[in-house]
Amino acid sequence: MEKKSEYVIKQISVFSENRPGRLAAIAEALRKEKINIFAFSIAEANGFGVVRALVDNPERAHETLTDMGFMVSFTDVIAVKMRDEPGGLYETARILGDAGVNIEYSYAYSGKDAAVLVLRVDQAEEAIERIIEHGGELLSRSLFT
């Protein structure tokens, strides 16, 4: 069995007030540092939000944004390659549901050869094991360091 932690990826989560220009400032800072953003999503609540991003160098992104005064933390996520056929999303959701794994949130992006589903789950190791068991393909953390 492969080491499951190989598939645990560090997402950066950045606190952002709902003020114009905050998202642009984050993107600009990462661009200057030549940090590539694979995917991001914004979650909003009453007056504030969290910007979630998958980048090619999370450590440096964390440092850069912290130096700028942003509040940043790492969040463990997994990334599943989606089969390019109908029902791909349903299948992943079913596998995790059957295993009793909760999906807290997810977002997707289209990678080089396939669409990728980023998942924040409550039991990462269990999720990884079940997805591999069912022949699914996960992105390795080595892509994001």
């Binding site: 007030e17 609540a45 509040m71």
Partner: protein, 430 residues
Amino acid sequence: MFWNNHMETLSGAELAALQLKRLQWTVRQAEKVPFYRAQLREAGVGADDIRSIDDAVHLPFTRKQDLREGYPFGFFAVPLKQVVRIHTTSGTTGKPTVVGYTRQDLENWADLMARDLTMVGLTDDDVFQNALGYGLFTGGLGFHYGAEKIGMTVVPSATGNTKRQIEMIEDFGVTAINSTPSYGMRLAEVAEEMGAELDSLNVGIFGAEPWSDNMRKELEERLGITAYDSYGMSEMYGPGAAFECEERNGLHFWHDSYFLEIIDPETGEVLGPGERGELVVTPLVKEAMPLIRYRTGDITMLMEDRCPCGRGQKIARIMGRSDDMLVIRGVNVFPSQIEHVLLSLPEVGEQFMVYIDRKHHLDEMRIEVEINRECFSGELKDLARLQAHVAGALRETLGLRTSVTLVEPGSLPRFEGKAKRVIDRRGEVW
């Protein structure tokens, strides 16, 4: 330890009778002042109408502004010949307020101060460094005579030359120090720089400006003392009108010399024990300058519980100024209450901003607080939980629903000197 056991523990009917007798005397004394003669005539009350202490409520208030308008000697009830000392309070604007003392006033004041110092355990074995300004300010001389009265060895160091102050503490074996809390912090700083241990020091007395419990802790740790809060103002002779006992849970206000009321600063209505409002003081033994229902502008409350030390009425430590009070949907709110709540929550910083708007004829209060960097988990649900937690804590203390906005650490304005944390936009016309 008691200086005047009988007076300090007087209670019930005996206290009420004494207060009544002295209130009647005070009103009679005030009637010698043209301002009060006019005021009392207008209110339709005189000394003879005061038949119980509860009748005080019929007397008119005296405001700081009234005293200013009496400059210089307009509030003296005795000829200048009988006035043996004058102090003034520096007004931030315009003329100062002048206060006068007869020989008996100075005697009364020193006696109250002797009670204060004895109450915190000081005796003629102590060496007392009085690091408050001497001169027109009441702080220096007020403590000085009380300390001498109980026989302490007094070092009238006044303020300034902090290095020399530290040397005196060490060389003279000073056991108790009196200063403003901010000067106390300065003393700690300089002592640390000098590597002075201040071994002899046991007691610190601080007053003349508001200070927090956090500051108390810091002063105690850095100076190696037990710190006590003192309260007073020149209109009540000076410092020493109220003082903490060894319980350090509220300040005993000398009930034989001052009659206290707490009022709603908006309506003037008298509030009960445990209710926060403006302190109104009627001194009961002042000869040269009697005052009736003087509005101090200080916010506090009468404490309900009897103190284990056996003395009488206590007030809570001063919580702010009535000028800072906000009325939100009919509820009185003080910015210091918000600060207090935030200080008790480690997840947020102590900086805050308050925005008040009126939407659909309803006041809306929104409070911005900074999240503590270490408490950011990256999860939106944790932020929402924190927001609800802060709003809940505020609601519990203020008795008011507020909306809380979480902002980035370091993003709120920092203030030097007087903070402008409240933006009240209700008066604005759109």
